[in-house]
């Protein structure tokens, strides 16, 4: 069910893949310890318990190609987890809230990413600005649109995928004042990264997304007038999951779609920004 995000396996056999995997994991540990710039192929070889020559046999271009493989693997894992969360959601609002929270959990909880953002931010940020941001948006649109198209016409599903990607990236790179930085492990406040991400998603989705999605829902090409018409962000219509597997729960019996929407916005979170 995660075939949306996982690229076809390389044809070089299990043994080769496991060697590559070992090197990638060793590289990841080294990056988390010393950063990308200071990690050498020797460091990676030593950590993986293999010779330098073996590393080069798997990755003839050395460190840069290992870095690419690390990024690929992290990205695939990210989308695998996201796909699981998204597939388990039974409505658009839930999908968006859980998906964005999951994305923030992964990004804020990734220790290597946190290390790099602190010590070599350019290694991370170059992937999140200008042309690379374009590529990332295009990738997310491709991966996420099929899930969103269960509830929206494909054009709006694609728009929403891009929109959510931008918001996730922006708030992950620089959390807004009204929520503050994600808690680091063992922080004094006792708040967990999961709670932080949930809080962020629970504020952002109802505030900025839902009013617009209410107008979009229904999948027609024309914008419905604001605030009009039936709203069914949960369990609407007769969706068909992108992977052909059914099993989502449609509208709960006896529950009008309007009733399952939050009628009020979170009352406090967005107020914490001091005026001026």
């Amino acid at each position: 069910m995660t075939d949306v995000a996982v690229p076809p396996a390389r044809d070089s056999g299990t043994e080769r893949r496991s060697l590559e995997g070992r090197i990638v994991e060793a590289a990841l540990r080294c990056f988390g310890r010393w950063g990308v710039t200071k990690t050498t192929v020797d460091d990676i070889a030593r950590d993986a318990g293999i010779s330098r020559a073996t590393v080069y046999r798997a990755f003839p271009n050395g460190r840069d190609s290992i870095l690419d493989a690390v990024v690929d693997r992290q990205r695939d894992q990210f989308f695998d987890t996201l796909a699981r969360v998204v597939t388990a959601s039974s409505g658009l609002e839930e999908l968006l809230t859980n998906g964005m929270s999951q994305a923030w959990r992964e990004l804020a909880g990734d220790e290597v990413l946190a290390f790099l953002l602190e010590h070599e931010p350019e290694v991370v940020l170059r992937n999140l600005a200008f042309e690379r941001l374009e590529s990332l948006i295009a990738l997310c649109r491709e991966v996420l649109t099929p899930y969103l198209a269960q509830w929206l016409c494909s054009e709006r599903a694609s728009r929403l995928a891009e929109w959510a990607t931008r918001v996730v990236v922006s708030y992950a790179v620089a959390p807004p004042d009204w929520i503050g930085a994600p808690p680091s492990s063992g922080s004094a406040s006792g708040e967990t990264i999961e709670e932080w991400a949930d809080e962020l998603a629970a504020a952002v989705v109802p505030t900025f997304f839902l009013p617009v999605l209410r107008c979009w829902e229904g999948g027609s090409g024309e914008d419905a007038p604001r605030g009009s018409g039936a709203i069914a962000l949960r369990g609407a219509g007769e969706p068909s999951p992108p992977d052909g597997q059914g099993g989502r729960v449609p509208t709960e019996p006896g529950t009008a779609p309007n009733d399952v929407l939050p009628v009020s916005y979170p009352q406090t979170t967005l107020h914490e920004v001091p005026h001026g």
Binding site: E122, L125, R126, E131, L133, I137, R166, T207, R226, H271
Partner: protein, 187 residues
Amino acid sequence: MSDDVREKILEATYGCIARVGLAKTTVEEAARLSGLSRATVYRYFPGGKDELVRAAVAWEAQRFFARLATDVSGAGDISALIEAALMRGQEAVEGHEVLQKVLHTEPDVLMRQLTVEGTRILGLIRGFLTPFLAQVPLPESVSAPAAADYVARMILSHIMAPGSWDLTDREQVHELVATQILGWISV
């Protein structure tokens, strides 16, 4: 220390970056171009080359957004203002020769500068937008600065990477602003 001298040094440094890039810009060259001594440049920028380059990037980023703010300030309402900011902003990013050159030749060096600067730029746009958003009826739970923060993020994101939106197309920009950027407010 005078602001004029500081400005002169930054302008010379920026000219230097435009010609040779971020990495090859030196205190010596900035001093030569501004007609000042090395010692004077160091007096204004004790951190030397790194501080000088960072300050010059910040200086141009602020000028960039000041120009943008001037360009859009005549817009009639908040929607027109943001539409103009997106169109002019993206145009200005694409037409910014030094930015485009450095993006292609030294993306990592630029990103290192923009890490700190990015947060400040976000703050600048937020500060610019807050009074405008204070005049529109926001949902009860959202303060004007929090609203401006969201809108600033969306503007920055789109002028850096327009994605599927054609920001030269007035109708598309109108749709983008009416939905994703301001659709949550009853403007």
